[in-house]
Each structure stands twice: as C-alpha cells, then as structure tokens.
Subunit: 370 residues, 2 copies
C-alpha cells in the first residue's frame, strides 16, 4: 500500500475546516502517557482555555474523547434518565439527532419544530417548557450546521435560570466563530466539536456542565447508561486535584495536544476579534454570492457566520458543480441535507478560513460556472 | 500560554506506546473532508488493513471514533439488549469493566472469575455457558492489561461456534503484538485500541463484527442505546458501496491517517514476524528482570508478551522508584492496579518498543537502583 498522499483541499464545507500548520505540528508532538504528571498540567491548561472559549467558570469543562456527536450523546446520557421529559427544538438535522439520542436514553421528547432555515421563536420554546412543568431538559441547537441558522438563546436561558429544567445548547458550529456566552446566557450544558471554528482536526468534543447540571447528575437514580461518557467518573480524571486523579480511559493524547494549540491561537487572537472576523468574512461572502445570483437561504438576521446556506442561481447544476469544485479546484463546499438536498450549498468560513482571501478564491472559482 | 513542549518519554508502561515518526508525520497530513471521495478510498484501505491485522474476512471491520474503552462499549451496546444474559470472564480490571458496561446495557451478567494474574480455565467458561443456555454473549479479555495475562481463546471459540451465543474478545493489548486469529478462533466481535501494539496514538478503537454478530444485531428488538456507537448506522458510512455512503458523524480524519500508517508498517513487517519480535523482546526482559531479583507475577505459560507484570525485588520502594524512573530517566513504566496496586510494575514492550535496545535501556537504568 502506498504512502498517504491525500489531495490538498480548501475546506469550505460544513466542517472539518483546514487546521493551521501550528495545530498539525502540535498534534504530531511525540506522545506521553495519560497519567504522566506533565500531561496532567496539559489537561489543566486545556480545560482552562476551554472555559475561556465557552465563556464560563464551570469547573467541569473538558474535551470528550470523541467527535461532536459524542459530545451530544455525553450531554444527553448524563442529563437524562428513563421517563424524563426533554423539550427539544427541531429545525434541522442536529435538533432531530438530539431527539433520537434522547429517546435512546428513555426520555419522552417534546419537539418544538420550525421550518428548516428559520429559527424557533423563543416564546414557543418557553411555552413548551411551561406546558411541561417537570421537564428535565430544554435543548436547542445554537448553530444549526444543516441550515446555517444561529438560534437565539438568551431569552430561553433567562427564563430557565431559576427553575429546575436544565438548558442544553449544541455549539458545534458556533464555538469560536460566533458570540456564545455559556454563563451569561444561563446555559447548563454546552458541547462543541474541534473541527469547525476551533480549527483542530475532528476527534474531540469540548463540553461544559454548570454546577446546576452537575448537581442534577449527582442526584440521578440510575447509572449513566454510557460507561465511556459517564461524567461522574470522568470528573475524577479531568477535574480532580493534584495527585487525586483516577484513570478512566486512555485520553486521546495527540488530539488534546492539537486542541491546546488551537485554543492557544484563539486566545492570542482574542475571542471577540475572532467573532468579528467570522462575521466580516461572512458579510463579504453574502455580497459576492448575491452579485452572482445566489439566494441566501436561511432567515435574515439569524445567519450563522461560520456557515452560509445559499441557493445557486437558476439553471446551475447544483450537485454537479459542487463535484467539479472539489475535483477541479480542490475546493470543498457542502451540499444540502434533508429537505434542502440538491437545492442548496453550505459554505463554511471557519477558523483560519474566515478571511477575504478564501472568499475571493471561492467567488473567482464560481465565476467560471456563471 | 507557552508553546507545547512535553518531555521526551520512553513509554514502557501499559500504553500508550511511542508512535514512530512515520505515524506522527502521517497524522499531521493536512485534513480532507469525511465525505471526500479520496477519504473514502482511505477508509477502505484502513478497513482492509484492519482485516489483515485481525486475521478476519469480516466485512464490518472499522475503527470506532473513540479510544479502546469506546470499542468495548461499542461491542456491548450493539450485541446486548435489556434482559440478555452475558457470561463474562473476570480476572482483572478490563473483565470487570465489561461487566459494568454490560449491566448498563440492562444485561444480566454471569461472572466467571479467576485470581488476578492467572487465566480463567476454558472449561469453566464453557461450563458457565452450558449452565446459561440462552446466553446472548460470552466475553473474554484476550490480553488483560492489568495483569499481563494472555487468555487462551481457541477452546471457547470452538465450543461456541455452532451455538447462538456470540463470542466477544477484548484485544486491546494483544492486537499486533500477540497471535490473534479472529476467524480461525470463531470470535464474533473483537475490539482493540490504537495506542498499544499498533503504535498509533490513542483515539481509535479498531473493531470487527462477524456476519453472525451482524445478523444478531439486525434482529434486535430495541434500538442500540448509543446513537454514536450504533453499528446499524455506522455500517452505512463505513461499509456501504461506492456512492452509497451515508454521513453519520464526522470521522476523526487525522487519527485515521495515523492508523493507516501504523497498519501499513505492520503489513510491511509481516504479522507473524511482529508477533515473534514481541515474544523475543519479552523473553529478553524476563531474563534480565529475573537476574535482578524481580519476580514475574503472572502465570507462567500464559504471559502477554507486550505487557509484563513483575514484582520488584524485596526492599525496593515500588512506587518511589517508578516515579524516579519517570522523572530522572524519562522512562514510563506502569504501576499495579486493584489488588496489585503498590506491589507490581507493568512493563510494556509494544510495537516499536518491542526490541532489545529498549530492554537494555530499562535494565541498565534499573541497575542504578539495585
């Protein structure tokens, strides 16, 4: 079998995004042990950097040893027990996925649905929680990767803050690329993935649990159904004091090296500057796409800067041109999912790709099809 | 925060082992998308290399997107349903862990226990299955990392071959370092980790399911309780024909690059040569340790070549010297777990570390404490 020589792609799809050289270099640093005191320092650094990025003081903030969907599952299996009621917003693939995972936890799911490409009105979510007063959980997707929608969270968070219902947010495509304030918005559990705006290869799911969430987990009647994702055990490895850490499973060392470097880059840039840079790059893209006859597909005023859903001009071979972009130009953009399949593209400007240079490359390539 | 500069450790513990430069370099290859046709070729190559390494024709052979314990969980959540009976051998940490995971699946666990550091006699396992005729599963740890025992599997596999009970083997520490014949031994599900004898950083769990196991999974009455690890969905991504693959979750691209290179190195060396090399290195270690007054702790005739459990000479500060080896010599060896805590060391000679050079380094360093 030949040496690994994949093509050099410009990743402007829904993720993964291109990882900077610094991240790839850190990832390839020789491995040390998962119980090495030096590795424990690195773990503490990563947790601290994650807290800064999630904008939280939550002690239990760490990377789950799996991709973003493992983060979703980690949140739901820990927060839900059989018979619990979960109010879940569904306006795309990832809200629907949360329902599937929650049902596998034995929860009764109350869906609050909205059209794909539109937000779910906060008052409808609040109303659903009001009608299910014992609900254990209210879950929303902050950045819906399937539709390019940025769901407002503040109003729902403020409403839930004083009750017993926990507030869960999926920030896979928003963390590091759009404003997210875990503490200020009253979010009790929030997960993400490394391969979007953090610019780290896929493989880890940063997650954060509030003290309120951890207290609820401590009072569970049943064991968490996943051993691998059980935070009551994981906290003894990730969050115990010096000399107190207990082995749970072998942490993915190299991925954690990579995450540390990705987060260090974010810290150097500054989170608010990074949010602005993503918004500015998205603005350039919107303008260029409109000029070429693209229609911005997702609801105005609620567009997710790192991911733009756009409908190519009438007469374009939507899927054919997307394949040509990949094959001839080495540019990846994503196709539509579900009801949007074959109708839209999903264009990602995430992390280091959120810049006018990458927008220019894409727009110029598209001109060849106009 | 400073640049990442971990110490350069010689990893002679229970894993992770040192990854060769070729693997680290492959891992740091720029990322491509998880739905890129070129990535799908890489996936097929990795699955094919895994089949060769597991010695199986099983179509459903792929790397789970998590560490070895995720492989254990993937096997158990797919094979077990609430109310199923699972006969599980327990003579160390990982057998006990399988029981915990199986119980979280709602299974009734029948334990077949043996003293730590000894095998479980195959006839006792067979007897337990006989006494539980409807048992869904019989599970054994092939290489028990907590004790350095290599459990014989052939007799049990031959017994189970014609019945309905599925045979599961944990090969986390044996795959690529000790003889393992998934098909010839009648194993229906087998998982491993990348960070032991495959010499790839931790982060993936290679797994293989036989057609008999896949048929049993297809007949499940309930959904697999883990969405993330549900092979009925994962097979549509990993094992579908060209143009038929369905997105499930974003695969950990860089880890898969690394695994491909680790497996390519194994293919170049040849699996049986690699098994012999591990056995020869272990033999050198046994001799050197005995000469220094160490006692080989695990049952003679059933020692796991990649991992040697040894009791330091009388009067040695078992944990203190282990810490000094790490701090002063940059050599990691593992401590004992459970009943062996503070009493033994676990010395790993895995993958590229299974050679006389590494044995010599360790033995010479130990002389300084004699």
């Amino acid at each position: 079998m030949q040496e690994l020589i994949p093509p050099a792609r410009l990743l402007l799809g829904p993720g993964p995004s291109n990882a900077p050289y610094r991240v790839l270099r850190a990832m390839s640093t020789p491995v040390i042990g998962h119980l090495d005191p030096k590795f424990m320092e690195i773990m503490d650094e990563v947790c601290q950097l994650l807290r800064q990025t999630f904008r939280t003081q939550n002690q239990m903030t760490f990377p789950v040893s799996g991709t973003g969907s493992a983060g979703m599952e980690a949140a739901l299996v820990n927060l839900l027990e059989p018979g619990d009621v979960a109010v879940i917003g569904v306006n795309g693939v990832f809200g629907a996925r949360m329902c599937d995972v929650a049902e596998r936890c034995g929860a009764r799911v109350v869906k609050v649905e909205a059209e794909w490409g539109r937000i779910i009105e906060p008052e409808r979510i609040i109303e659903a929680v009001r009608q299910n007063p014992g609900a254990r959980l209210c879950a929303l997707v902050h950045g819906e990767t399937s539709t390019g929608i940025l769901q407002p969270l503040e109003e729902v968070g403020a409403f839930l803050k004083d009750g017993d219902t926990l507030f869960l947010a999926d920030a896979v495509t928003s963390l590091g690329g759009a404003p997210l304030e875990v503490d200020a918005w009253g979010i009790d559990a929030c997960y993400s993935g490394t391969q979007k705006c953090l610019c780290v290869p896929p493989g880890l799911a940063p997650i954060s649990f509030s003290p309120k969430a951890m207290a609820a987990i401590a009072k569970r009647k049943s064991k968490v159904q996943s051993w691998y994702l059980d935070v009551t055990m994981l906290q003894k490895y990730w969050s115990a004091g010096e000399g107190q850490r207990l082995y749970h499973h072998t942490a993915p060392i190299s991925m954690i090296y990579a995450l540390r470097e990705g987060l260090r880059i974010i810290q150097e840039e500054g989170l608010s500057h990074r949010w602005e840079r993503h918004a500015a790059a998205a603005g350039h893209l919107y303008q260029g796409l409109r000029e070429m006859g693209f229609e911005l597909w997702s609801q105005e005023g609620y567009r997710l800067p790192p991911l733009t859903a756009a409908k190519p001009p009438q007469g374009w071979d939507v899927e054919g041109i997307r394949k040509q972009l990949l094959g001839d130009y080495d540019i990846e953009v994503g196709g539509g999912l579900g009801p949007a399949a074959g109708k839209i593209w999903r264009i990602g400007l995430m992390g280091e790709n959120a810049c006018v240079q990458k927008v220019a490359v894409l727009l110029r390539a598209l001109q060849d099809f106009a």
